[in-house]
Amino acid sequence: MTETKAAPTRERAPITARIARVRVASWATAALLVVAVVLAIALQPSLLSPYGIASTFATFLPLVLVAVAQAVVVIGGGLDLSAGAIVALSSVVAVQVMQGSDDRALLGFAVAIGTGLACGLVNGLIVSRLRLQPLIATFATASVFSGLALLVLPTPGGTVPAVLTGTFRQAVAGVPVSVLLVVAVALGWLVVRQLRIMRHIRATGGGPAAAFASLVPVAGAQLASYAFSGIVCGLAGLAVLGNAGSGDPFIGGDLALNSVAAVVIGGVALRGGIGSPIGAIAGAITLALASTILFAIGLPTSWRALASGLVVILALALSALGAPRRQR
């Protein structure tokens, strides 16, 4: 390759161009988050008390984690409807292993993550090797994982080691641990996204055929995205335990679908390739605050499901407005 000095290509785009390139979707995400925070605090000022902040973030943490997991899978061109079931399964397995003993807390940690990883690998192998549609494949495995959770712990119960629940309630230098954990998730992502495999996941979601032709290990990237999702869901299972203090095989419930909503509110395109888990975190917090708001305005319980559905639709419509149009 000969060196040519003519018309050198500028490497760094001017700052203005880079700002202009920030997706409107992320502005919409940020705006929604700000509106939700302001509304929630206005309606329920006690949220700002140290206890309010700590407990709010503690309830957010599982959805935040599952949203990050979901974001990675969706960016990779997939979908993980089993995320909630993985959270439930890894949490009940951990509860049964730990039996409330502090000595076994570390083992419980490893078991929760291992269970999540195993579930993620199952999903990943089904999608990448058997080439089943992610929607159907993970819908089916969700049922399998939920069933397993019921076998491991048929009814809610069991005790979580005090060290886990205690740490969850503590504060470091005045900042609640639950807040630190949410921040840690975001910072952790900033490191993880530098992995080569994350680039491959993004390329696979952005254009599987193009990625394959570019020698990206497409099947490996798919597998890795589900495995990553499984691990993070395992962590979410621990967050659930720390928050609740006991095991519950039904905890998965709406987590998977809420995480999909959070991901879309966060500016991640369901067609893959576009977005970031950071947006998904914002989406998860927005979504969680929305239900706080609905609770705070004293909406009757019977109306809450309907209202939260409408909120999700509104939020999705707003993010869709900002999303880049597909070219014809």
Binding site: R199, R202, A203
Partner: protein, 511 residues
């Protein structure tokens, strides 16, 4: 150039796609330090042969030797390990990744699984600098989605260069490039050649082949018919090799139609179309010829309102707005697509339903369908077109290719169209069914319809057309009428040999 042992040797390459034999024993030998052209008419298998070498098409049978060593190339990754890189017109870029990230895609530098942005930049820089005269103002951090098609094509070439290939396949890689950009790519190609690489070059521009290539392999119907030095060879000789000894094709048409002008198109622009003008008379069968991908399908889709375009279109003198397939159908325009599976039929649904779906409105009263009327209409088409079926209730997927295609014809004939657009209507259809479809087309025209037909087979155009418009890069570049329509003339016109050879197309001047 010194005489070197062949770097690449392919022989006995066979590949079938369903009933179509894309390659039947093709071969190719190319040395390092040479630019080797691959030439052949539509469907000759030149692209498939390249893709076999690049690992993106798995042949049914092939012997491949690199440097005299027999190898198997099962995937693009396997090809890359052998130092083979490929660039196609079909891009393999990720639109939302940056220029730099796309350049290093699949070979990202880094340590312990983490990316090294600095190292990626160090590797991408020389490639970007080399391409800079052709690229113009492009930032390494810019998402590829923001680049013009030509710039994207150059990034695609850059990706291959970054791999420092021993063997580089350029398959129509210059098709979307401006002349100045082509010149830069040629410069780079010659540098690679002089450094000992072997470049396989597929292009539809014959002047590019003669300009760049040292040697060329010529294919016809999936077989290699000649390998020749390019210097000194006459264009007519190339055409003769590409077409071969043609048996006279029985042309099935009578006197030149003299009906009134039915379809008039002026300045049609949009997508791949760069200004199409045409007129077709009632009862006339007009073919769209030229090399594949010159805008023939796009023209038909635009006339059917399936893609957005601007320009004047009139039927029987009345201007038509081509907003959607529904409005086109309302004006009596029908499109029979070549892709039966995805566009032409609903394979799992009954034959009767497939036949009547486009003309339901005419056969329903107050929105209610009449089973008897629907059945009668379907039955009339089955008889008129001699479609071999079991029951009208059987799914279309139970039919052979030829009969399924007749169903597609039938459903559009039931709308009683005045303009019939045919997009490669006999693709994958056996010879007997082809002849029947040609008769249907002729009957349509005799009944007063205007037929516009695009075909991937020149022979088909020779057989059925009263007139052929040869397209090149989104515009009509030559016209053949009546007995002028021969396979040889079609190939000459497609390659712009003869009167058109020196004339650059208007679109290129404007670009």
């Amino acid at each position: 150039m010194t005489e070197t042992s062949p770097l690449v040797r392919l022989s006995g390459v066979r590949k079938r796609y369903g009933g179509v034999r894309a390659l039947q024993g093709a071969s190719l030998t190319a040395a390092s330090g040479e630019v080797h052209g691959l030439l052949g008419p539509n469907g000759s298998g030149k692209s498939t042969l390249g893709k076999v070498l690049a690992g993106s098409v798995r042949p049914d049978a092939a012997t491949i030797e690199i440097d005299g060593e027999p190898v198997r190339i099962g995937s693009p990754r396997a090809a890359a390990r052998l130092g083979i890189a490929a660039v196609y017109q079909q891009l393999s870029l990720i639109p939302d990744l940056s220029v730099e990230d796309n350049l290093v895609l699949g070979q990202e530098p880094g340590r312990a699984g983490f990316l090294s942005r600095r190292e990626a930049r160090r590797r991408a820089r020389p490639v970007l600098e080399r391409l800079a005269p052709a690229l113009g103002e492009v930032h390494a951090e810019q998402p590829v989605r923001e680049l013009a098609p030509g710039q994207q094509q150059l990034i695609e070439i850059g990706k291959a260069l970054l791999r420092q290939p021993r063997i580089l396949l350029l398959d129509e890689a210059t098709a979307s490039l401006h002349r100045d950009q082509v010149a830069v790519v040629f410069e780079i190609t010659r540098e690679l050649r002089d450094a000992g690489a072997c470049i396989l070059f597929v292009s539809h521009r014959l002047d590019e082949i003669t300009d760049l290539c040292d040697r060329a392999t010529i294919l016809r119907s999936g077989e290699t018919v000649a390998a020749t030095a390019v210097a000194g060879i006459e264009p007519d000789e190339i055409v003769r090799l590409m077409v071969g000894d043609v048996q006279a094709v029985e042309r099935d048409h009578g006197a030149r139609p003299t009906g009134p002008v039915r379809l008039a198109v002026r300045g049609l622009v949009g997508g791949a179309l760069r200004g199409v003008d045409l007129e077709a008379r009632a009862g006339e069968i007009v073919g769209l010829g030229g090399l594949q991908g010159q805008g023939q399908s796009e023209l038909l889709l635009a006339l059917f309102g399936a893609t957005s375009s601007t320009g004047e279109v009139a039927i029987d003198g009345d201007p038509v707005r081509l907003a959607s397939p529904r409005s086109a159908a309302a004006r009596g325009i029908a499109l029979v697509p070549g892709d039966r599976g995805s566009q032409g039929t609903l394979p799992p649904r009954p034959i009767q339903e497939n036949l009547t779906i486009t003309s339901l409105r005419a056969r329903s009263r107050a929105g209610l369908l009449s089973g008897a009327r629907e059945r009668a209409a379907a039955q009339s088409m089955v008889e008129a077109l001699a479609i071999k079926i079991g029951e009208l209730g059987d799914p279309v997927s139970s039919l052979s290719g030829g009969n399924a295609q007749k169903v597609v014809f039938g459903k559009w004939l039931l709308t009683e169209p005045v303009v019939v657009l045919l997009d490669d209507p006999t693709k994958g259809v056996d010879v007997g069914a082809k002849a029947e479809i040609y008769r249907i087309i002729r009957r349509l025209a005799d009944a007063g319809a205007t037929v516009i037909i695009n075909s991937s087979e020149d022979r088909e155009l020779v057989t059925v057309c009263d007139r052929v418009l040869v397209m090149f890069e989104g515009a009509i570049h030559a016209e053949l009428v009546g007995d002028e329509i021969t396979e040889e003339r079609l190939v000459q016109a497609a390659l712009r040999i003869g009167e058109g050879a020196q004339r650059r197309s208007g679109a290129e001047e404007a670009a």
